[in-house]
């Protein structure tokens, strides 16, 4: 038990350490903390020598709320509005793999039309999340127009999702057994219209942002992550695909109906910040094609939801399923002990894997490259802390 005198001694020692460091007169310690417009809900400490960063220490945990523990007090259906909160912008993907794991545990078969609707909602939500990420990327680099345009075009998809699920952002749409409601009338035409219009907007993004020489100068050749390093560090999602590894879970372990859809995995070989910012853009273009195919191949009628007892439970077992979300592989490991409430839920997120690359990439780069590297790692602080 530490007394107050011990605590004062301890802080004096720490204070002396910082003073000694600045006596050297070259290094400056900066806390890019939560109170910083360029960091999100996340803190990392950097030491700077002039304009170059020499040390970086990420410090996650600011938004930790014990989501995994709270899952044990709710039954399997009540967990859905709770579990979509870590990444609320991508809610159909984070509840997708939970639903898949629980279906494996309880032993439910999802009807085919329900699988298609789940995949459509997942793709639409992927667009929503990627556009939001792109908007913040723009504003981190000082491009206020690139903040407003994707945030505006996100409305096209949010409008569709609101017609489909009933809420703009907090969908709570996927449940174990399928989806909660069928698609409304006129949804298919509206969806095709919005997706077709969105492809025209993608051309504008290329003109004003991706082909803008100032943007290219700031991101090409910055923060290069080689292919072997990417595999060794265990990064996932668009960061991995930007370093030359064409890995997409929808192709590697296809879930639901993805083995019937024809699409290409988008990857780039350079591994710099520009590649990491361009691969999600290519993913968005590919998503438009996936949505069109899904709408075409969907069965004309059928059930969307499997019949369940009010408190679904299965034999004591464990299940692990993963899904490709906007940030990478998102896996759920669910253990049940025969009761309606799960015994343990472990969420394995892509953001926490990707942030491992941050110290390696920031050391040796300039301070001005900090937002461009940090946000291009596709890190969502709330999800990484859960």
């Amino acid at each position: 038990m530490t007394t107050i005198e011990d605590k004062i001694e301890e802080s004096k020692k720490l204070g002396m350490q910082i003073v000694k460091e600045s006596e050297d007169d070259r290094l400056m310690t900066l806390s890019v903390g939560p109170q910083h417009p360029g960091s999100g809900h996340f803190r990392f400490v950097i030491k700077v020598d002039g304009d170059y960063i020499v040390y970086c220490d990420p410090d996650p945990g600011y938004v930790h709320r014990g989501d995994e523990k709270m899952c044990e007090y709710r039954n399997v259906i009540q967990n859905i509005p709770h579990l979509e909160r870590p990444v609320i912008h991508d809610s159909n993907n984070i509840t997708y793999s939970y639903s898949l794991a629980v279906e494996e545990l309880v032993g439910i078969e999802v009807p085919r039309r329900g699988q298609f609707i789940r995949a459509i909602a997942s793709e639409l939500n992927r667009q929503v999340y990627t556009l939001y990420w792109l908007a913040i990327y723009g504003i981190f680099l000082g491009h206020s127009t690139m903040f407003m345009w994707p945030a505006g075009d996100r409305e096209l998809f949010i409008d569709l999702l609101e017609a489909l699920t009933g809420a703009r952002v907090t969908h709570a749409f996927n449940i174990p057994g399928g989806v909660r409601n069928d698609i409304p009338e006129g949804f298919k035409d509206r969806c095709l219209r919005n997706v077709g219009y969105f492809e025209k907007r993608l051309k504008e993004y290329e003109d004003i942002f991706y082909n803008n020489p100032l943007f290219r100068q700031r991101t090409e050749g910055v923060g290069i992550l080689q292919k072997e390093d990417a595999i060794k560090l265990g990064v996932t999602g668009s960061v991995l695909r930007a370093s030359g590894v064409p890995y997409d879970i929808r192709k590697v372990e296809p879930y639901d109906v993805y083995n019937e859809i024809d699409f290409n995995v988008q990857y780039m070989r350079t591994g710099d910040s520009f590649a990491r910012s361009y691969v999600p853009f290519l993913d968005m273009k590919e998503s438009c094609h996936i949505i069109r195919q899904l709408l075409d191949k969907m069965p004309k009628s059928g059930e969307v939801r499997a019949k369940l007892q009010p408190n679904p439970k299965g034999p004591p077992n464990e299940a692990y399923r993963r899904v490709e979300s906007g940030r990478g592989a998102l896996g759920y490991y669910v253990v049940s002990d025969g009761t309606p409430k799960p015994y343990r839920v472990k969420i394995s997120v892509g953001s926490f894997r990707n942030i491992l690359a941050l110290p390696f990439l920031l050391v040796g780069s300039r301070m001005a490259d900090m937002p461009s590297i940090y946000w291009s790692l596709n890190y969502w602080p709330v999800e990484a802390d859960r």
Partner: protein, 422 residues
């Protein structure tokens, strides 16, 4: 201002109004009247027309509207009016206010959104007033360990320096607050203060992020002053004088200099964007990297003063561009020669001056809009690319145009007695 309002009581309201009137009356009697008497007794009385302006004459003139014209005419031609109102501070501040509002609406239109909407009945026209009131009512937080005299003095010096630049710029023939023979050189001398103020303020803030921002501001502004001066030098070669009024007159007698010196105009434009710390050159204020750069510790009215100074500087540099390259007030006379035909009294209105002011305002406003445009299109630049551009590329371009200007003068096309000079 963010507390929950109490119930409104009419009696208390009336009571507060009565108190206000009472305090005003006391102040006027105890301080105002003696001050007026002192001024009127000891100040030398100016002659107006052919009479000496005594207080009695002043009061009788203000009562009868047809006889106030001589006073107005007298006051318009004093130095105080020129510095504080017309080509000086108030004109610049009016431009600054309109610029801030137009910038927000312009960027909003480019970004497919509405911008300020709710303050004021039409499209948020009172947004600036609302923002100003908000800034005045906020607490000014001075960080502990900050150097207080410099912390308070630097923003005031910022606005003062920006306003000092506006006194040198001629708006109409004969209408300039300070008609110096080396006017252009004086402008650059005053502009050289800004890096110093930025650095002093960032050092006085005693904090790490302002320190980084201040150093960036220093590097940026110093790096771009040289192409700035060099591009203006080509204009001086063509005009043959450093006096800004002379430069405009020589453009009136030949042609606008942007036709002969387009590269210099481009270099001047880019350098003025860098001097103003506008996007794409707003690294000293880079929000996602160094919080707010050297403005981090400003709050309340100090921030308001720095914004005001920044926008007055925008007007000053846009007006300088118009004077140097776009012909100042050159343009056809579009106002009628006499407002009421056959008027024989004291004249205030002059058709040439009025149309000069009109053309100058239009051109400056257009130039300011052109300066607002890159904000919607470009991201922020990085410091090594910035310094590379400023020290290498722009100086080379400025020199190229200077040789073009020399060739034009020595080839006899421009300059005294040239082919294109009327």
């Amino acid at each position: 201002m963010s507390t929950y309002p109490e119930k409104f009581r009419f009696g208390e309201f009336v009571g507060s109004i009565v108190w206000l009137v009472f305090i005003i009356l006391i102040l006027v009697t105890l301080i105002g009247l003696p001050l007026i008497f002192v001024v009127l007794f000891y100040a030398p009385l100016p002659p107006v027309g052919d009479q000496v302006l005594t207080p009695y004459l002043f009061l009788s003139m203000t009562v009868d509207p047809t006889r106030t014209l001589p006073i107005i005419k007298y006051f318009i031609h004093t130095d105080l009016f020129r510095i504080a109102a017309f080509p000086g501070f108030s004109y610049a501040a009016l431009f600054a206010a309109v610029t801030i509002f137009v910038e927000r609406k312009f960027l909003a239109k480019m970004q497919l959104r509405v911008g300020p909407l709710y303050a004021g009945k039409i499209e948020g026209i009172f947004q600036l007033l609302a923002d100003g009131l908000k800034l005045v009512s906020k607490e000014i937080i001075v960080p502990s360990g900050a150097d207080k005299p410099i912390f308070w003095a630097a923003p005031i010096a910022f606005v003062a320096t920006a306003a000092a630049v506006t006194t040198l710029i001629p708006v109409a023939p004969g209408w300039v607050a300070a008609n110096i023979n080396v006017g252009l050189l004086a402008v650059f001398a005053i502009l050289g203060f800004f890096p110093l103020i930025a650095l002093l303020f960032s050092w006085a803030s005693n904090s790490k992020y302002p320190f980084i921002g201040g150093l960036r501001a220093l590097h940026q502004m110093i790096a771009f002053e040289i192409p700035f001066i060099l591009s203006a030098l080509s204009v001086v070669i063509l005009a043959g004088s450093l006096n800004l009024t002379e430069i405009v007159n020589s453009q009136i007698s030949s042609n606008w200099y942007i036709l002969f010196l387009p590269i210099s105009a481009f270099v001047f434009y880019i350098s003025s964007l860098a001097e103003l710390e506008r996007i794409p050159f707003d690294l000293p204020e880079a929000e996602s990297e160094i919080v707010a750069g050297w403005l981090t510790e400003t709050s309340g009215m100090i921030y308001g003063l720095i914004q005001l100074g920044s926008y007055i500087k925008t007007y000053a540099l846009a007006a300088l561009f118009v004077v140097l390259f776009l012909g100042g007030w050159a343009g056809p006379v579009i106002f009628p020669a006499e407002l009421t035909p056959g008027y024989t009294g004291v004249r205030i209105y002059n058709a040439i001056t009025a149309s000069a002011i009109f053309w100058f305002t239009i051109k400056t406003f257009g130039m300011i809009m052109l300066m607002l445009l890159p904000r919607g299109i470009n991201p922020r630049i990085r410091i090594d690319i910035l310094l590379h551009t400023g020290w290498y590329k722009l100086i080379v371009l400025a020199f190229i145009n200077m040789f073009v200007a020399l060739a034009l003068v020595y080839g006899g096309i421009l300059g005294p007695g040239g082919l294109l000079v009327r």
